[in-house]
């Protein structure tokens, strides 16, 4: 069925393909490639020459990642999240039926099943596990043979997950980062790929919103992922809250008056480039060109794997 087709599976996209994409889209893609510091085949020149707008200068020789590459990047993130939740809620790895364990890299630092402070938190995390597991399954289905296997994952990259509080801190960060990753990648996707990504984005947002509230209610420790991260924080005053997020934090990871920009106005959620996402997950803040580390000791699988 058409809705399940991957529009572009070939990273060397055709001229026709690029011609069909909005001018601004192509421009974004170029920015995206620049952010990735990707260098590639001379085919890039031919690709860009097919663009309809003369404003897109042929000034770089790069190959755009195909939509399947972007989806595989997302799949790596979902592997990480789903595996993490599987261990903390089920005490085991993902089920073989998910397809995630075939040809998988090694999973290290896996926590035992955890006991959470309340039944409500337990229930909530079980539902989040369900969501993340199904994001893996759906993305693998959409990508079909193009789906990358699960890479090696070190779940203890941010410290041994031995307590419920530690797990909630990590979970909160995963969800907030996940939401920004999807928000940052949407313009690289079209059609069914876009629809899948935005529906997953919404769910990452649901999880983030709830887990941030749980973090506030349970005084969960906060580890700042990067400068775009917002500490889960109740200002304790309605008037203060109505002024938006501050340096002290906020209920939600959105821009406040001080952190707003033209690309992320006040009240909007942030976006992160793939490089910014990987700098968090690889544990290499501010470093460009890293291909592995942190939660992914051997790096991500797929074309997009470098900070």
């Amino acid at each position: 069925m058409a809705s399940k087709e991957i529009e572009v599976l070939d990273p060397a996209a055709t001229v026709e393909k690029l011609s069909s994409i909005a001018t601004a889209r192509a421009l974004n893609r170029r920015n995206f490639m620049a952010a990735l510091s990707m260098t590639g085949a001379a085919a890039g020149a031919a690709l860009l020459s097919g663009c309809t707008s003369s404003t897109v200068a042929v000034s770089t020789t790069t190959v755009a990642p195909g939509e399947s590459d972007v989806l595989n990047f997302a799949l790596n993130l979902e592997y990480l999240e789903a595996t993490f939740y599987s261990y903390i809620t089920q005490g085991t790895d993902l089920p073989a039926s998910s397809g995630a364990t075939a040809n998988s890299g090694a999973i290290t630092g896996a926590p035992a099943k955890l006991t959470f402070a309340t039944q409500q938190i337990t229930d909530q995390l079980n539902e989040i596990y369900f969501d993340e597991l199904n994001h893996v399954i759906a993305l693998r289905t959409l990508l079909a043979s193009a789906a990358v296997p699960r890479p090696a994952i070190n779940l203890a990259a941010a410290g041994t997950i031995s307590t419920a509080a530690t797990a909630l801190s990590v979970a909160r960060q995963f969800e907030d980062v996940g939401a920004t990753a999807y928000a940052g990648a949407l313009t690289l996707l079209t059609s069914s790929s876009l629809n899948y990504a935005i529906q997953i984005l919404a769910v990452e947002g649901f999880h983030a919103g709830a887990l941030r509230l749980v973090s506030i209610q349970n005084s969960i420790a906060y580890s700042q992922a990067d400068s775009l991260d917002v500490k889960p924080f109740d200002p304790g005053s309605a008037a203060t809250a109505a002024a938006g997020p501050t340096a002290s934090g906020a209920f939600f990871a959105t821009a406040g008056a001080a952190s707003a920009s033209s690309s992320t106005p006040a009240g909007f959620a942030f976006t992160r480039t793939t490089s910014q996402v990987l700098q968090i997950l690889y544990g290499t803040p501010g470093v460009i060109g890293t291909t592995k580390g942190g939660f992914f000791p051997n790096g991500l699988n797929g074309l997009i794997a470098s900070t």
């Binding site: 039944q119 409500q120 928000a183 059609s191 947002g205 919103g209 809250a241 106005p265 009240g267």
Partner: protein, 415 residues
């Protein structure tokens, strides 16, 4: 793009129909173009025959422009921001945003929430929603529509501008619904947007989802009944002395056990059974727990089922509890026993389950609502004292007694 057509909201939609949605997308797109009165046959054929340009950068000749979709979203944001402004500040939005605005009817009075944390949370959401209005108006520039008239109780009347006292539970239920509906609206709109418009919509979507996730948890923690108590209505025929309602127009979202209100309905009568003979409008039958005490003629009375969550794309915010934790992990949101056509599910988040996941919205994914489906919720009238149903073709009602402003303002008629 299968989930993105202007899909006619069919109140008797079934899961099977949802599953078939993908295969019907080309036809729906064609119907959609026709419904808009676009007569450029060649252009229309080009649109439906070409799969690749899923989101053309300019669609004005073939359908709503990107700015039309953003203005549709702006209407939703006006509703949210205005509602939050009244319940948190006790006043309308800042005057800088209300130039040439329609009138605000029956605004809620400032609400005192049960805890400081909830008060703070709702205030921060107000900040976000106010900022979304500002952000969208900046993005749209001169194309931004002004705020339409609203009835902030969703009552479709323009009779009173007097503030209405609402309970904290009612306010929380209303904003919970707004946030979940907002998410599904943007999930649908996104495919028609490109570049900065798309990114902005995604950033608003993320914030909307943050809000929904937190508010759903608050509603669960406060153990509030889902409110508004009824936002799906139906008409039917009752006979005095009989427990059966015939000629039922719409059973979507109704649930066995829901309380019924209407002329001739015995006080406290509940839905005992729902029978759907076919998908034809007006052919359903509902059995009540008590006999009717008056008779009505065909479609003369509209009945409202209370505590009816939604349109099949809403998950009731409920913690299923320890006994269901395994089921939650393996099946997702859980079926509420006794629901019918489409079933109602409950869980922490508004996502598809194993049971009602589709090709376009797999399990664990958030739903998308077409503009028509969104308007069906926003144009419906919720109060037990008003019996107006949003029907295909409706261009106003409920929260928007004069309709939303902009090119996308009506529920498509079934094509």
């Amino acid at each position: 793009m299968a989930s993105k057509e202007i899909e006619v909201l069919d109140p008797t939609a079934t899961v099977e129909k949802l599953k078939n949605l993908a295969s019907r997308r080309a036809m729906n797109r064609r119907n959609f173009v026709t419904a808009l009165g676009v007569t450029g046959a060649a252009a229309g054929a080009g649109l439906v025959s070409s799969r690749t340009p899923a989101r053309p950068s300019t669609v004005s000749a073939l359908g709503p422009a990107q700015t039309d979709y953003l203005n549709f979203l702006l209407n939703i944001k006006y509703l949210e921001a205005t509602y939050y402004s009244y319940i948190t500040q006790g006043a309308d939005l800042p005057i800088s945003l209300t130039a040439a605005s329609g009138t605000m009817y029956q605004p809620p009075a400032k609400v005192t929430f049960p805890t400081q944390q909830i008060t703070d949370l709702v205030n921060e959401i107000y900040y976000d929603e106010l900022s979304h209005v500002i952000g969208l108006r900046n993005i749209l520039g001169a194309a931004a529509v002004n705020r339409p008239a609203m009835n902030l109780q969703g009552l479709n009347t323009t009779a009173s501008t007097t503030a209405v006292t609402v309970t904290p539970a009612a306010a929380l239920g209303t904003i919970r619904l707004f946030e979940d509906v907002g998410v599904t609206a943007i999930n649908y709109l996104a495919e028609f947007l490109t570049s900065n418009y798309l990114t902005s919509a995604a950033q608003i979507l993320a914030a909307e989802a943050f809000h929904a996730g937190a508010l759903r948890l608050i509603v669960i923690q406060q153990a509030d009944a889902l409110v508004p108590p009824a936002y799906l209505s139906f008409s039917g025929v009752i006979t005095s002395g009989s427990p059966t309602i015939t000629n039922v127009s719409n059973t979507a979202g109704l649930i066995v056990g829901a309380t019924l209100i209407g002329t001739g309905i015995a006080s406290g009568a509940k839905i005992a059974a729902i029978n759907i003979a076919s998908e034809a409008f007006g052919t359903g039958t509902i059995t009540m727990s008590a006999n009717a005490n008056a008779s009505t003629t065909t479609n003369a009375t509209t009945l409202i089922g209370t505590n009816t969550p939604s349109d099949g794309l809403d998950v009731e915010p409920v913690d299923p509890g320890a006994a269901q934790v395994s089921a939650l992990a393996t099946s997702g949101p859980l079926l509420v026993t006794g629901t019918s056509n489409p079933p109602i599910y409950e869980g922490f988040f508004n996502t598809a389950s194993i049971a009602n996941g589709t090709e376009t919205t797999p399990a664990g994914f958030a739903f998308a609502r077409t503009t028509g489906q969104v308007l069906t919720i926003l144009y419906s009238t919720y109060a037990a004292t008003s019996y107006i149903v949003a029907l295909p073709g409706a261009a106003k009602g409920g929260y928007f007694p004069l309709g939303v402003t902009g090119a996308i303002n009506s529920i498509p008629t079934q094509g």
